[in-house]
């Protein structure tokens, strides 16, 4: 037996909390922690700085300092500055990039539709918006408003043919429609796939596996050509509408699988607690299961949204004039022949802005929804 006095200990007084030393907080600590924490890290930091010093000045010189913003043709551009970017092509064809061949005197309508879109998105994206309920009512009728504004009703608003649509207008129409319809459809498909009812389950599984097994381009070709064979003769079915349906169905199959992942990640006890309280199936889905499953699936959902938004460029292969489709004639035009980089950089930047915004928003949403429940 050891002597008791050597191991016995009683705390005499509680120790006060002390402020953290300067080396563990503040910018200095951040720099050391993140940039110079080990020899390898230090070497990588220095290499990155050298790389940036080598890249950035040239890029800035090309894109801004030597760039030409306004000119009539590529030759004029080269005369003004032989080394810089020729953004003049974008300036000259800006309207086409935005609207395609939408009639010039009616272009206020897509612009108004876009502004209203932002208003309609406000209550969906941001829960602190004033008068959220009334705005939601507007969001609900917005698709109809947008349709009348964009295509016209042939009565108050002059009709515009689908073949005149193009540019980013087309991208946004397909992207926003696909995103807003694929989410609810994907939820239903995911719930159907988890259903106890064999008939519903088989339909959902077949649909999801079929759509996921076929490339989007194939579906778009089906939409543009084959669909006419299946429809009764004489029915004409707007091409943009057909593309919208295909893109939505395509994205919803992916969405369903992402959401199924969220449903599977949810603790079985949540379903049981909802059942034990007497909630019906739809109540427990709406109140308990989906809020949690969707939260878990946010990164995957936004990933699918971003993918869908970029996939809209595929419609150029079936002859729709999305921004990439607009580029083709410009490349062939002798006035601007030879400019490639500027056009693709411009379109790329546009897509980046939208996709980056979506990605940031999803991060904000995840942070916001994580309050309180640390499970």
């Amino acid at each position: 037996m050891t002597d008791n006095s050597s191991i016995a200990f009683v705390m005499k007084e509680a120790k006060e909390a002390m402020p953290a030393p300067i080396t563990t907080t503040g910018p200095l600590a951040w720099t050391r922690e993140n940039l110079f924490s080990s020899p390898l890290n230090t070497a990588l930091t220095i290499l990155s700085l050298i790389f940036l010093a080598w890249m950035v000045p040239g890029l800035v010189q090309w894109a801004f300092v030597d760039a030409v913003w306004v000119a009539g043709s590529i030759d004029e551009c080269r005369q003004l500055s032989s080394e810089g970017a020729c953004w003049a092509v974008i300036t000259a064809r800006f309207d086409q990039f935005m609207f395609g061949f939408y009639p010039e005197d009616l272009r206020w309508r897509p612009i108004l539709a876009f502004v209203l879109l932002c208003v309609a998105l406000l209550p969906v994206l941001w829960d602190a918006v004033p008068a959220r309920k009334q705005l939601f009512a507007f969001s609900a009728v917005y698709p109809l408003v947008a349709f009348v504004l964009l295509w016209g009703d042939g009565w108050v608003f002059q009709s515009v043919s689908s073949s005149d649509f193009g540019g980013f207008l087309l991208t946004i129409i397909i992207g926003v429609t696909g995103i807003s319809f694929s989410l609810p459809l994907g939820i239903l498909l995911a719930l159907g796939r988890n259903s106890n009812m064999p008939f519903i389950k088989i339909i959902c599984v077949t649909f999801i596996e079929f759509i996921r097994g076929v490339p989007l381009i194939t579906l778009l070709f089906v939409a543009s050509t084959l669909l006419n064979y299946f429809l009764p003769p004489g029915t004409s079915f707007d091409l943009i509408l057909r593309v919208l349906i295909m893109v939505t169905l395509f994205a919803s199959a992916y969405m369903a699988e992402v959401i199924r992942g969220g449903l599977a990640a949810l603790n079985k006890g949540q379903y049981e607690a909802a059942d034990a309280l007497g909630l019906t199936y739809w109540q427990s889905m709406y109140l308990i299961v989906l809020p949690q499953a969707l939260k878990i699936s946010i990164p995957g959902i936004v990933n699918t949204f971003i993918g869908l938004f970029k996939d809209t460029t595929l419609v150029s292969v079936i002859g729709l004039l999305d921004p990439l489709g607009i580029i083709q004639p410009i490349l062939a035009d002798s006035t601007w022949n030879g400019l490639v980089v500027e056009l693709y950089v411009f379109v790329g930047l546009f897509f980046f802005a939208f996709c980056f915004a979506m990605s940031r928003y999803s991060m904000y949403l995840e942070r916001k929804l994580s309050t309180g429940d640390r499970h």
Binding site: E272, A273, L287, I288, Q292, K295, G372, D373
Partner: protein
């Protein structure tokens, strides 16, 4: 197991009235299989209104499965279960009717982490009982006061201790004003310091005459509160008796072994 707690539990048996005529739950010849595995074998159990029954037994003995059959979290394949005069069948309406009258508390609480404590408690009254929101909140606060955590009403479950969460889970069930409460190992996931606060709430419920069916290994609780202890093994009810007789003079050899394992260590 928690004999130390037994001394702390103050329960007034004189308040716990058992009805002689009103049957709360009647289980007749119930059998259940998980695939090929015969998990419950010919269970017969009649629970009178106001009874407090403790079910114990080794893990895998089917005790949780049995009480989960009572509110159809598990489906039985043979025999009858009659709860509050309603027979459990595949009829969804009847299942919902029974679930409204039967409250349940789980081992892992199963609070809804995305809702506040208050919202957890008002959800079912509002959506199932169609109670106005204001009234539901009053009811919820009443029961949160009873389980002694009204000040936590606007927090989220993740911010509470395990014992507090389980008390919220009990309050959430009580908000539906159930006639029967089922407890599935309510203290098994708790730290020793928190077990007592949950048991105290359960004792309070018993004193108010609630019909309770409780799967637990809290033998102190069983002794002080239960009027019947049931021992299950391999899907069968092996022995049942009044707590005093059950603990001091177990008849079946399996019961004796089980009790010696959990009481003498």
């Amino acid at each position: 197991m928690s004999e130390a707690n037994a001394a702390d539990i103050l329960a007034d048996r004189s308040k716990m009235q058992v009805s002689d005529t009103e049957v709360a739950i009647d289980i007749i010849g119930m059998n259940k299989w998980f695939g090929d595995f015969h998990v419950l074998r010919d269970i017969n159990l009649r629970v009178m209104k106001g009874e407090r029954i403790v079910v114990c037994g080794p893990s895998g003995s089917g005790k949780s499965t049995m009480i989960r059959c009572i509110n159809r979290l598990e489906e039985h394949q043979k025999g009858k279960i009659i709860v509050d005069g309603i027979e459990l069948t595949n009829d969804l309406k009847r299942i919902d009717e029974i679930r409204r009258e039967v409250g349940m508390c789980f081992q892992h609480f199963n609070l809804f982490p995305h809702l506040t404590i208050l919202e957890n408690c008002t959800l079912a009254p509002i959506w199932v009982r169609k109670m106005p929101k204001k009234q539901a909140e009053e009811v919820a606060m009443h029961y949160l006061e009873r389980v002694k955590i009204p000040e936590q009403a606007h927090k989220y479950p993740g911010q509470l201790s395990g014992g507090q969460q389980q008390r919220v889970a009990i309050a959430r069930s009580l908000c539906m004003n159930p006639k029967i409460m089922l407890f599935d190992e309510p203290t098994s996931a708790l730290d020793p310091e928190m077990i007592k606060e949950v048991l105290d709430v359960m004792v309070g419920l018993a004193e108010e005459g609630m019909t309770m069916l409780c799967v637990t290994h809290e033998m102190g609780f069983a002794r002080k509160v239960a009027n019947r202890v049931i021992f299950m093994d391999q899907g069968q009810i092996v022995e049942q008796n009044e707590p005093e007789a059950f603990f001091t003079n177990p008849q079946h050899e399996r019961t004796q072994l089980f009790l010696s394992q959990i009481l003498h260590h």
